[in-house]
């Protein structure tokens, strides 16, 4: 497809127009993109549609959307088990919020030390921190389970401690790294000025770094929340009592029952469980998309 384009004719005089890159006919490209959007959105729309179909329609109507909206699946799903889904949502919310606080606090402290303070062996610790980035959680889960169980924390009075303790100890190295990168961008002159005014490392942290790190904290908070809300593996391993279940673990109860009649309620609860993440997506769409391309965060 070697077509003669305007740029091959007159590249010498005018400065190259930045708009001429992998061109393609705009209409054709738009059509392809719309087709891909349809493929990408189809499962999600089908999910919402099915959650609103009556039992009878789920079997008979193969269409994307219900003919008659029947919200009954939502009420049925909400109280499908001995424990109401309200409880599961509360549990998930609590775990996610505490994780956000824990990650924010502990990672910020560690990042400040790595980014700004001089101390012995700092380089070595930093390398270790980067190394833990690559540790798959599946490697740690067995010994951590044994450890927390030996300490009596699994299924104990506060069943979420095994999920939360690591988050308050800056084990999410990715966020530490993100904040270190961010803090390196904060001008050192500000530290110097504060130091001349008599501030020590704590004062500088409190009055310079903490307020200026807001954007990094917000990014950490959003991704912390979404990841924890979506997380399944750790919650599956550490939660053993029905009333302690979080939403993802509770959703698997539907699969256990496998009866066809549970499909509608199962979809309804699935839709609800994705709602917080979806709302975050709508609210922070620009930030999320930019966030990953500057830092490599995965969804």
């Amino acid at each position: 497809m070697v077509t003669v384009t305007p740029t091959t004719v007159a590249p010498t005089t005018a400065p190259p127009s930045p708009r001429r890159r992998q061109g393609g006919r705009p209409v054709l490209r738009l059509l392809i993109l719309v087709a891909i959007v349809a493929v990408v959105l189809y499962p999600l729309i089908w999910m919402v549609g099915t959650s609103l179909k009556s039992q009878e329609e789920i079997v008979n109507n193969v269409g994307l959307l219900p003919e008659r909206f029947s919200p009954g699946n939502y009420t049925a799903g909400w109280s499908n088990f001995d424990v109401s889904f309200g409880r599961f949502f509360l549990n998930s919310t609590m775990v996610s919020l505490f994780t956000v606080v824990g990650n924010g606090l502990s990672c910020l402290l560690a990042a400040y030390a790595f980014a700004r303070l001089r101390f012995r062996l700092r380089g070595m610790w930093f390398a270790v921190m980067i190394g833990t980035l690559l540790l798959p959680q599946h490697v740690l889960i067995v010994p951590q389970y044994i450890l927390f169980r030996t300490l009596g924390l699994v299924g104990g009075e506060w069943p979420y401690l095994p999920l939360l303790i690591p988050q308050f100890l800056a084990t999410e190295a990715f966020f530490v790294f993100l904040m270190v990168q961010f803090m390196r961008g904060v001008p050192r002159e500000l530290d110097e000025a504060a130091r001349i005014d008599g501030a020590g490392p704590f004062g500088i942290f409190r009055h310079i770094i903490l307020p200026l790190s807001r954007p990094a904290l917000v990014t950490t908070a959003i991704f912390s929340f979404i990841w924890t809300w979506n997380d399944f593996f750790r919650q599956l391993v550490f939660l053993s009592q029905l009333e302690d279940y979080t939403v993802p673990v509770a959703l698997t109860l539907f699969i256990d029952s496998t009866s066809q009649s549970a499909v509608g309620p199962m979809f309804a609860m699935s839709v609800l469980s994705l709602l917080p993440v979806f709302l975050f997506f709508v609210a922070f769409q620009r930030m999320l998309v930019e966030g990953i391309n500057t830092s490599g965060i995965k969804g």
Binding site: T3, A127, P166, T252, L288
Partner: protein, 327 residues
């Protein structure tokens, strides 16, 4: 998760750190800063020791035992290399899980990256509405490994699912894909490919870095669009391709949630979705063979380290950094 290389403070020896501190201000601050450093670092250090390092050592020890969580530590029996021996020579389901995982990664990861790159090329131009498309394509990645999404996916490829009703529009009679051992893993691959949004965004960032002049020069030389792609876009994008490839491969090996949901935690039908991590979970938490599961975890860790190392050593041959010595 992220492999971005940072300016690395490890390069700075203690000596140079001192001169640095001296340059910055009064030397009397140095001592308090060293102390403060460790105060600020203490949560992380406690976490590193308590939640990461000691558990890992414990896990290494347990991998040489027959620990099953029910017997107390004092009665744990040292079995030497028996777990590793069993894994490599006497456990067909282990090798099956390895095969399933490698198959999944080898097929799904390249297709996902191809989709991501293809769509990124389509979106690589500023026009009204491009942000909306980017956001919509990213959405599946964000919903990512959630159970809800896996549930929807499994049902979509059921006998009565949306996929078959779509096929029936073309007069094709589908089958219950997720219950078919020959197709269950493929449905999981399609799920992974569907979530191409995250690498796509990274590709888009990479494409923005390619200087427009290179395309101009190439087209002056008479290169068509395909040759421009092959000789300009691909080499310039190779660091980003490399980054995505490493990241997605490691992610691919760790797939768990969808396989768990599809098979209700069994790896079925007929072990067709027995991913490595699911096998590890079943061994450790269903069958309570914690010693054996620890051995599996360590082999997993080593395997990922080796694969990453292989990527980095072969990367030299095809990854071009514009500021590097090659080319």
């Amino acid at each position: 998760m992220a492999l971005t290389t940072a300016p690395d403070p490890t390069r700075r020896g203690p000596g140079s750190a001192r001169t640095h501190a001296d340059r910055r201000g009064p030397g009397r601050l140095r001592h308090s800063e060293g102390l403060a450093g460790y105060v600020f670092l203490s949560p992380w250090l406690i976490g590193l020791m308590g939640v990461t390092a000691i558990p890992m050592l414990l896990s290494l020890y347990l991998s040489f035992t027959n620990y099953d969580i029910l017997t107390p530590f004092s009665e744990v029996e040292w079995v030497g290399l028996a777990n590793y021996e069993r894994m490599f020579t006497a456990d067909p389901s282990y090798w099956h899980a390895v095969r399933v995982t490698v198959t999944f990664a080898v097929i799904a990861v390249p297709l996902k990256l191809a989709a991501a790159l293809g769509v990124a090329l389509l979106l690589n131009r500023a026009w009204r509405g491009v942000g909306l498309f980017r956001g919509l394509f990213y959405l599946p990645s964000l919903l990512g490994g959630s159970v809800a999404l896996a549930i929807v996916w499994v049902n979509m490829f059921n006998r009565d699912g949306a996929f078959n009703s779509l096929l029936s529009l073309f007069g094709i009679t589908g089958k219950p894909w997720v219950n078919d051992p020959d197709w269950a893993l493929e449905t999981l691959m399609v799920l992974a490919i569907w979530q191409f949004g995250a690498p796509m965004v990274i590709f888009l960032a990479g494409l923005k870095q390619v200087p427009t002049e290179l395309y101009e020069a190439a087209s002056v030389d008479g290169a068509g669009r395909f040759r421009q792609f092959r000789n300009v876009t691909l080499p310039m994008l190779s660091p980003v391709i490399f980054f995505n490839l490493v990241l997605e491969t490691i992610n691919g090996f760790q797939g768990f949630t969808a396989a768990f949901v599809l098979s209700n935690g069994t790896g079925g039908p007929v072990d067709s979705t027995l991913m490595y991590t699911l096998n590890l979970y079943i061994t450790g938490f269903t069958e309570l063979n914690m010693g054996y599961a620890s051995a599996m975890a360590w082999v997993f860790l080593l395997a990922i380290a080796v694969i990453t190392a292989i990527f980095f050593s072969t990367g030299r041959f095809w990854v071009h950094y514009s500021d590097g010595e090659d080319r």
